[in-house]
């Protein structure tokens, strides 16, 4: 088990290294160079030259890369051009708001999607099942930013029930949660439904039925327990993906998270913040995948045995 975790941890570090390297490569394609971007269009050639030397841009690419990696290991991505102070500091300040949004969307999707999937699977092909299938097909096609705007249109503009932007009360969390959570809800419904349908055909379920257990007993004591694992895995992996999706939703609702910070930084060409944001989001995503992976191993003894050898 320990060897397995160490191996997974080593691989996660490799993946984060790769992601940070990709960010370095992409940033080389910024038109002009960081010195020009930092100083703005009014800078004289002498000033640009001096800044290039200060930032190390006159050194060979390999030296620049090594310097960048050394800094990245210490979570140093430079100072924000626009906001002042360390770029990573701004990102860490904004991270809790994004995590809150991701967690509440996950809660919304699971608490609503799980019972819907179970009910649909208990009467496959019936009206409720067909309705749920249609809803989940549409739900997966919803672009979160458009859903968000439509929610604002109905619940903020016309009904005036909820605030359209900001983050000062729990009411502010409702619409971003729904907008971000709806596609995820559809995934959960589909997953639970098909997982349960598969399990209900298994022999041990037939045995439970033939023992005379009630259908509720069969479904909740035997079937649901055994389809839980894949669902938990996907939910965990989706939590990471939601952090990516939050970027756009935060822009719609002026939610003060990492995503809005990133979009503002892009508009201001504040590249240290752009680098710090994407690097940290990738790292958080990888860590979440790692946690899901290890939890899965811990929950499923079969994987544990294989992992030890």
């Amino acid at each position: 088990m320990t060897a397995y975790i160490l191996r997974r941890l080593g691989y996660a570090i490799f993946v984060v290294w790769g992601a940070v390297t990709i960010i370095f490569i992409v940033m080389r394609f910024v038109p002009g160079d960081p010195a020009t971007a930092l100083l703005g269009p009014t800078a004289t050639p002498d000033q640009i030259e001096a800044t290039r030397t200060r930032l190390g841009l006159d050194r060979p690419l390999v030296v620049q890369y090594l310097r960048y990696m050394m800094n990245a290991i210490q979570l140093h991505f430079g100072d924000s051009y626009r906001l002042g102070g360390s770029a990573i500091g701004h990102v860490i300040d904004r991270l809790p708001a994004t995590l809150l949004l991701a967690v509440s969307s996950t809660g919304f999707a699971v608490l609503l999607g799980f019972p819907m999937g179970v009910l649909a699977a208990r009467s496959p092909g019936k009206a409720f099942d067909r309705l749920v299938s249609r809803i989940s097909l549409v739900g997966q096609a919803l672009p979160t930013f458009w859903t968000g705007i439509m929610l604002v249109l109905v619940f903020a503009r016309y009904l005036q029930l909820l605030p359209s932007a900001g983050a000062t009360s729990w009411q502010h969390l409702v619409m971003p949660t729904v907008a971000l959570g709806l596609p995820f809800l559809s995934i959960v419904v589909r997953l639970v439904r098909s997982g349960l349908l598969d399990v209900l055909n298994e022999n041990y379920v037939q045995v439970a039925r033939s023992k005379g257990l009630t259908e509720n007993g069969v479904v909740y004591r035997h079937a649901v327990r055994n389809m839980l694992l894949p669902v938990v895995t996907v939910v965990g992996l989706q939590l990471g993906a939601l952090i990516g999706g939050a970027v756009i939703v935060e822009t719609v609702f002026a939610w003060p998270g990492v995503g809005r910070l990133l979009i503002n930084a892009i508009q201001n060409r504040d590249f240290p913040v752009v680098q710090a944001t994407t690097a940290l989001m990738a790292a958080v995503f990888v860590v979440m995948n790692l946690v899901v992976d290890i939890t899965y191993t811990w929950l499923d003894p079969r994987v544990r045995v294989v992992g030890d050898h």
Partner: protein
């Protein structure tokens, strides 16, 4: 079989009662809305040209069905500069469908070639490709697209480049696992034993085996790509402002939600219709090509 679109074509499947034919009907039914948009995108601009520069302040923010100053009808209303929204949505369909199909083609080709060769040959190539895929998957999908698009700037070809870079991974992974399954089949061993070259085995035996997976994943990815394109354009990182796309139009209507809801609502509705249509085409394609997977 309660689809309205199926009821609309009572003759299909009646004359030819072969099972194959009747099983194809749901495929066509699912594709109809998307095909309508394809037709609209091709011939629409000829009938109803959209001119981004043709501003008419007198006609601004007209609700759907209003008459414009020139006596024409704005069936879906007008935007903040008096431009016809229907023409704008049709022009946007062009962008979405173009970006969607070219990206799926590029990402699909690159992903298939890398997936099939790394699955078949294994070894160092497989290692490099799959490690690269893992690293790319360290980014939540839209995040890498935002990063690249922010650096290379807004244009249609840049959106295609950006989304192709972020989307090849899915194709490569799916095709690789299909290739691994094909590799162990007797027909592949037989072809090799009969002296067929690796190139021939790959193109004539392994590739056809992966085709089902490829078609299904292509429909799924098409929907994801046009949603991603709209998202990038919504953020101002996709298509340039002069070229109307659904994402841009939705963004431009945000300031007029109270007075002109249709500007934001209708292009998004068009987007959802296309994605649902392609998505259900994918579902039914999977059922059609692989009946074992059918549920309830």
């Amino acid at each position: 079989m309660s689809d309205a679109s199926i009821n609309g074509q009572p003759n299909v499947g009646k004359a030819v009662s072969s099972r194959r034919h009747s099983r194809l009907t749901p495929l066509f039914a699912a594709a109809v809305p998307a095909l309508l948009f394809v037709v609209a995108a091709i011939v629409g601009p000829l009938l109803l040209p959209y001119d981004a520069v043709n501003v008419n302040i007198g006609d601004r923010l007209l609700p759907p069905g209003s008459a414009t100053g020139t006596g024409e009808t704005a069936w879906l209303g007008t935007d903040r500069l008096g431009r016809d929204l229907l023409a704008q949505i049709i022009a946007g369909a062009r962008v979405s469908l173009l970006v969607g199909s070219v990206t799926v083609l590029v990402a699909g080709t690159v992903g298939t070639i890398l997936g099939i060769t790394s699955g078949y040959f294994g070894g160092a190539l497989d290692n490099v490709v799959m490690r690269l895929a893992d690293i790319q998957l360290a980014f939540p999908s839209i995040l890498l697209a935002i990063l690249i698009a922010a650096v290379i700037g807004p244009s249609v070809s840049n959106v295609i480049i950006t989304l192709s870079i972020t989307r090849w991974v899915k194709f490569a992974r799916v095709i690789r696992s299909a290739t691994l399954a094909a590799k162990e089949r007797d027909f592949v061993h037989a072809a090799r034993a009969l002296g067929a070259s690796h190139g021939r085995v790959l193109s004539r035996h392994v590739f056809p085996f992966t085709l089902t997976s490829l078609l299904v994943i292509a429909t799924v990815e098409f929907g994801l790509v046009i949603i991603a394109e709209a998202g990038l354009s919504f953020l101002g990182l996709g298509t340039p402002p002069a070229l109307p796309s659904w994402g841009l139009t939705i963004a431009s209507g945000r300031d007029y939600l109270s007075s002109a809801w249709w500007i934001s609502a209708l292009p998004g509705f068009a987007l959802v219709v296309v994605v649902v249509s392609v998505g259900s085409l994918g579902d039914r394609l999977r059922d059609y090509l692989d009946p074992h997977l059918r549920h309830g």
